[in-house]
Symmetry: C2
C-alpha cells in the first residue's frame, strides 16, 4: 500500500520555479536564511559518494565572534539510507550488507573530517515492526556494548577520530533478561562505548507497532560530553513530545540527534516542524534523520486502516535536516535516495541565542514541575472556567 | 530602523510560480493538505471588508463522521490590524479610532457567523514598550472587567452571540495595586466577562522591553468552557515555551489562541513553527495572530542593537494562521494588511487525533513533573555522561 515518491524535495521545486529574489525571501521566511551557506566538500568524500551512489551535502552555521571564548567548531554528519538486501535474505546477510553500505558512507564522512556522526533509527535492519512477527526480526537485536554492530563501528570511530551514534535494536543480554530495547549506542572517538540511551516514548500508531517489541526507556535523558560537544539522542517518536526534547536541553545538550523511521502518509507535514521547534525552544542544534525507500516483507500484513493486506511498508521520505537555535535550518536531503548530510556548527551559537532570547531564564520551570505532577494524578481537577 | 515589506506572503509567490501539480505537493508537505479548503464568505461580510479595506479569508477543517458524537462545528475568527491614529494623538483618540476600526471587522465576523473571535495582543494601543517610556503609554491600561474596551465589546458579544477574546493592557484597579498586566479578557456570548488570563512569560528581547511594564502572570493556565468549545489564550512570547502550550492542553483546551505582536527581523522564521508544533503536540487547534504595520513614536529610542536611535518600530508581519491537531494549517493572512481570518473547525478532530497519535497516553507526565522539579533546583546535577 505504499504511495509513490514523485517529488525529490521542496527545495528542488523552489529552485526550479521561483525567481531569484523571491527564492531568497521564501528561504528567509521558511528556513531562516536567504542563503543556504553551502560548504565545499573535499574531493575524496565526493568521489566516495559518487562511486557509491549517495547524495552528499554540507552546510555551515556560524556564530558571532566573542572576545573570551574561541569558536567551538564541530562538524556533524547524519546518514539516511534504504536497506541493502532482501528481507527474505538470512539475517546475517541483511546486516552485513547494511554494514558494508554504511561503511562507505562513514568513509566519506571521515574523508570530510566529520567529528560526530549519527546513523538512522534501527539502522541494521528493515523497520519490520509493521509485521508484528517476532520471528525472525528479533534476531536483529544485539548487545549494545559488544554486539557485532558496535564492534564494527568501534574501528571506524578510532580510524576517523569520530564519535558515532548507532541506533540499534538492543538485546539486554547482560542482565539475563533478554529484553529488547530501541537504543542509541554512543561510541566515542577513542573507540570505546561511552554509554547508551533507550527510546523514551514508544508509538502505538498504524504500522508502528513498536510497543509489542519494546517498552519505554529507562535511561533518563543522558547528555554525552564528547570531545567535540555535548550531544544527546531523542529517538524517533520522542520528537512528538516537547517535554522530552526539553529535558535533554536541561541536561546541557548542544546537539540533539533525532534518528527516525517515518513515512509520508503519516507524518510528512510534521517533519519540518517538530525537530526545528525543539532547536528553537531549547537553544540547541537538532538533527532530524529519516530513512528512505520502501521495504517489502515476506508475509502480508494489515495496517489497521481498513485496506487489504499487503507486503510493503513505506516509502520512508528521508528529508533529513539540521536546525539551529536561532530558528534557521538547512535544506533537506532528498526524499528518495541515500545521503550524508554534513553541517559545520559553531556551538557558541547556543549560549548566544540563550542570551538573546532568554528562554531558559523565562521558562518558570518549578511552576511546570509542580503543574505536571498535579496533572498526572488521577484526581487532578483541570483549571476550567465556566460562566 | 524598520525594514521594508516587499513580499505579500509565501502563498502568493508559490501560487504565481509553481506548476499546479507541484503546488499541490508543496502544500501537502508544507501545510499538510494539497488543497486550502477555502470556504465561501457571505456577501454582507465581503461588503464590509471591501468597504473598510481589510482582507477576509475563510477555511474549513473537517473531522471523520462518528456514530455516537455529532460534529462539533465552531467558526472562529482572528483579527490582525495596524493602529488607526498617530501615536502623538491623545490616548482617547487613539483608542477610539481602534475601537471604530475593529468594530467594522467584528461586524464582518458577525455577518459571517463567527462564534469565537480573538483580537491581537494589546489591540487598543501601539506596541509602545519599545520606548521604555511609562508616560503616556501606561494610560492605555484599563480595568479588565469594566473598562471602556470591555464595555465596548460586551455589546458586540451580545449582538452577534459571539465569544470575544480581548487582549489588552490591564490596570489592576480592584485590588488597589494599580499594577499593570498583559491580559486577555474573555467576554462570553452572553455579554458577560467569563474571566481573564494574564500573560505567563514576559520577553526581555531587543525592543520587547515588556518586563519593565508588567510581570509574569498569576492566573495559571485557565481553559474557558464556552458554549462553542473549550478555549485558552497563550499570549505572545508564551508561544516560545512548549510547556506553557502543554498546560493549556492538560486543562482540556480544544482551541488555543496566540495573540502576538512580533517583527520580521526577529521572529519570522519561527512564526510558522511554534504555534503549529503546539497544535500537533497537544492535539488541539492553535491560532497564531500578529499585528501589521510600522508604528512611529514621538521620541527617538534605541534598540540595543548598536544602531542609531530612531522612532519606528516594525513592521509587524501579520501572517496570522490556524493550525490543526493533525498537523495541517491554513495559508497565512498577508504580511502587510489588516485582515480577518475565519476558520470553521470540527472539534471532534481533537479526540480523533488523540486516538490516532496517542501523545497524551504516551507523554509520561509524572516523570517530567518530577524531572522539571529536580532541574529547577539550584543544586540540580544534570545527567551528564563522560568517557
Amino acid at each position: 500500500m505504499a504511495e509513490k515518491i514523485e517529488f525529490k524535495n521542496l527545495e528542488e521545486s523552489f529552485k526550479k520555479h521561483l525567481p531569484e529574489n523571491e527564492l531568497k525571501e521564501v528561504k528567509r521566511i521558511l528556513y531562516g536564511r536567504a542563503d543556504d551557506h553551502e560548504l565545499s566538500i573535499n574531493d575524496a568524500a565526493l568521489a566516495i559518494a559518487a562511486a557509491n551512489n549517495f547524495e552528499i551535502k554540507s552546510y555551515n552555521f556560524s556564530a558571532a565572534k566573542e572576545d573570551l571564548r574561541k569558536p567551538k567548531i564541530v562538524k556533524i554528519g547524519a546518514v539516511q539510507n534504504s536497506i541493502a538486501a532482501l528481507t527474505t535474505d538470512p539475517i546475517h546477510i541483511q546486516r552485513n550488507k547494511l554494514h558494508e553500505k554504511i561503511g562507505k558512507i562513514i568513509d566519506a564522512a571521515g574523508a570530510d573530517n566529520v567529528n560526530v556522526l549519527c546513523l538512522q533509527e534501527a539502522w541494521t535492519m528493515p523497520f519490520a515492526f509493521c509485521t508484528r512477527e517476532k520471528h525472525p526480526w528479533c534476531e536483529f537485536a544485539e548487545n549494545a556494548e559488544n554486539g557485532p554492530t558496535t564492534e564494527f563501528l568501534k574501528n571506524y570511530a578510532r580510524k576517523y577520530n569520530m564519535v558515532i551514534v548507532s541506533p540499534i535494536l538492543e538485546r539486554d543480554e547482560d542482565r539475563g533478561s533478554d529484553i529488547i530495547w530501541n537504543t542509541a549506542v554512543v561510541i566515542s572517538n577513542s573507540g570505546n562505548v561511552m554509554g547508551k540511551h533507550r527510546k523514551n516514548h514508544i508509538p502505538r500508531v498504524g504500522d508502528f507497532n513498536e510497543s509489542t517489541y519494546y517498552f519505554e526507556g529507562n535511561t533518563g535523558h543522558p547528555v554525552f560530553e564528547t570531545q567535540f560537544g555535548k550531544i544527546a539522542i531523542n529517538i524517533c517518536y520522542g520528537r512528538h513530545h516537547p517535554q522530552n526534547w526539553m529535558m535533554f536541553g536541561l541536561n546541557g545538550a548542544e546537539i540533539v540527534f533525532n534518528p527516525s523511521a517515518t513515512i509520508g502518509a503519516l507524518s510528512e507535514p510534521l517533519w519540518g516542524i517538530e525537530a526545528r521547534n525543539a532547536a528553537i525552544a531549547n537553544s540547541y542544534f537538532s538533527v532530524a534523520i529519516n530513512r528512505v525507500g520502501t521495504e517489502t516483507f515476506p508475509n502480508e500484513f494489515t495496517s489497521a486502516d481498513g485496506k487489504p493486506a499487503h507486503k510493503e511498508f513505506g516509502p520512508f521520505y528521508g528529508s533529513s535536516y539540521v536546525a539551529a537555535p536561532d530558528g534557521s535550518r538547512t535544506p533537506s536531503l532528498s526524499r528518495d535516495s541515500d545521503g550524508l548530510l554534513i553541517a559545520q556548527l559553531d556551538l557558541n551559537l547556543c549560549r548566544q541565542i540563550k542570551d538573546k532570547w532568554g528562554f531558559r531564564m523565562t521558562q518558570r520551570l518549578s511552576l511546570y514541575g509542580e503543574k505536571f505532577t498535579e496533572a498526572s494524578k488521577f484526581d487532578y481537577k483541570p483549571q476550567i472556567i465556566k460562566e
